[in-house]
């Protein structure tokens, strides 16, 4: 049974595109046939993050407009077997697509792909409506900031109002030290406010910036904590029970043990 996930957040810049690219790559490496779809018409980024921008000939708006067939617009990622990108137009905007058209497009994609990931734009307007139109489940991405959590809450409310009740949360750019000092929202507080199942936590990692600029999703880098976290999330999506990563920096685990043992604050 094919599944379509929409990766959404409300707030901009929290990591939806990065998440879509990395999860798509990880799921393809696990043997699934995956289509990642950029729904941010006019401000397309998924192609850049995946390093496929100079292979774009046709896009999602062309497919919906009947200028080409779906198969002509899909770009096969030569690095990973089973991974395809459907880019969108940069020279149009979100009014070029209607939710019913997106729904049909996703239904067509589900015929050929095991998993469809829809990269949702920021906001709650037409772009959002388009992106969720064909989705079965939602992945909500947020960062540990009050404004992002507020927007995530709004988005979850909108998803539920549209009947998308199967949703899970990814907390991105988590900084363990700041959370422990109380300078950053911790995971429990966020789950308390959002009342949503936690899919995974991605630690803040410089390698994300490097990988984005290179067009190589970080999940392929074994030394990147963020990459490993994305890999774990992909495994959880496929039904595996993966324990949450211990994000303590090396060496602290030992010190914390001593702290607990001697009750040192």
């Amino acid at each position: 049974m094919s599944v379509a996930y929409v990766v959404t957040s409300g707030k901009g810049g929290v990591g939806k595109t990065t998440t879509t690219a990395n999860l798509g790559t990880a799921l393809a490496r696990a043997g699934k046939k995956v289509a990642v779809v950029d729904a941010d018409t006019g401000l397309r980024n998924l192609d850049v993050v995946m390093g496929l921008e100079n292979r774009i000939v046709y896009d999602l708006v062309d497919v919906i407009g009947g200028l080409c067939r779906l198969k002509q617009a899909l770009i096969k990622d030569k690095r990973f077997d089973g991974l395809y990108l459907l880019p969108t137009a940069q020279t149009k905007d979100k009014t070029s697509v209607r939710p019913e058209q997106m729904q049909k497009l996703v239904e067509d994609l589900k015929k050929d792909f095991d998993i469809v990931l829809l990269d949702c734009p920021a906001g709650i307007e037409r772009g959002f409506e388009n992106a969720i139109a064909g989705a079965d489940k939602a992945i909500v991405v947020t960062v540990p900031e009050v404004s992002a959590v507020r927007d995530a809450d709004r988005i979850i409310g909108k998803l539920e109002a549209k009947g998308l009740t199967e949703h899970q949360l990814i907390i991105n750019r988590h900084k363990v030290d700041m959370a422990k000092r109380g300078d950053m929202l911790n995971i429990d507080d966020m789950i308390d406010i959002l009342s949503i199942k936690l899919l995974g936590v991605i630690p803040d990692d410089e390698k994300i910036i490097i990988s984005t600029n290179r067009g190589e999703p970080v999940v392929t880098d074994e030394t990147s904590p963020a990459g490993r976290a994305y890999g774990n999330i992909a495994r959880r999506l496929l039904g595996e029970e993966v324990p949450f990563m211990n994000l303590e920096p090396n060496g602290n685990a030992f010190r914390n043990f001593f702290k607990k043992f001697f009750s040192i604050r």
Binding site: R150, D153, R154, G157, K158, D192, S195
Partner: protein, 206 residues
């Protein structure tokens, strides 16, 4: 789904429009437009009554709908005057709406009687009632009780940490500085013209 949201009934007084009270403003507007545009000539220059009572649609949106229908279809809309007292008999009794879900940011609940939320009210969410508001969870959003100038209305929650509290025409907010999460249920009421907050069960505290 749209078909069942709205019902046109012929009565002695004319045509009364009732609708599914669970629906939000956008769905009702869409349903009305769909139905009225189908029979434009039949309804033209006529008078219809819309029953907004008990719904989630506030006065501003009610007027918007009435104006839109008059402008687009030439139909004058009259509000079915439901005796407000039926819904709300002071703050000791009255019709109550029970919501068994968390109110999320951006959601607005409006009711003429009392409201009980079995869940949280998240920041950015609003609950507005003619009567009392009780939240069996964390109240982090904006609430307005006693909206018909009733200063006897109260607001109670397991964890009272709202962005703003309003009872009748009095508005109050948390003191500036770090917000401390309350450790016991509290109730807000009007005393001497301002809102005071007290523990729900003062005798239990040490």
């Amino acid at each position: 789904m749209i078909e069942h949201d709205i019902v046109f009934k012929g009565t002695r007084n004319g045509i009364v429009v009732t609708f599914n009270k669970e629906c939000d403003f956008e769905s009702i507007k869409a349903a009305l437009e769909k139905r009225l545009s189908k029979s434009k000539t039949f309804f033209k220059n006529s008078k219809i009554f819309i029953d907004f009572s008990g719904s989630n649609i506030d006065e501003l949106h009610q007027r918007y709908v009435s104006d839109m229908i008059l402008k687009d279809y030439g139909i004058s809309v009259h509000n079915v005057e439901h005796n407000r007292q039926k819904a709300f008999n002071g703050t000791y009794e009255g019709k109550t709406k029970f919501l068994k879900d968390t109110i999320r940011s951006g959601q607005s609940i409006n009711y003429s009687g009392n409201i009980v939320v079995i869940g949280d009210v998240n920041a950015g969410g609003e609950v507005i009632a003619g009567g009392n508001i009780i939240v069996l969870g964390a109240l982090r959003g904006m609430v307005h009780a006693g909206k018909y100038e009733n200063e006897k209305a109260v607001i109670a929650a397991f964890a009272l940490q709202p962005t703003q509290l309003r009872i009748a025409s009095i508005i109050s907010r948390a003191p500036d500085g770090l917000v401390v999460k309350p450790r016991y249920p509290e109730i807000a009421k009007v005393k001497d013209g301002s809102i005071v907050i007290e523990p729900c069960a003062p005798n239990k505290l040490l």
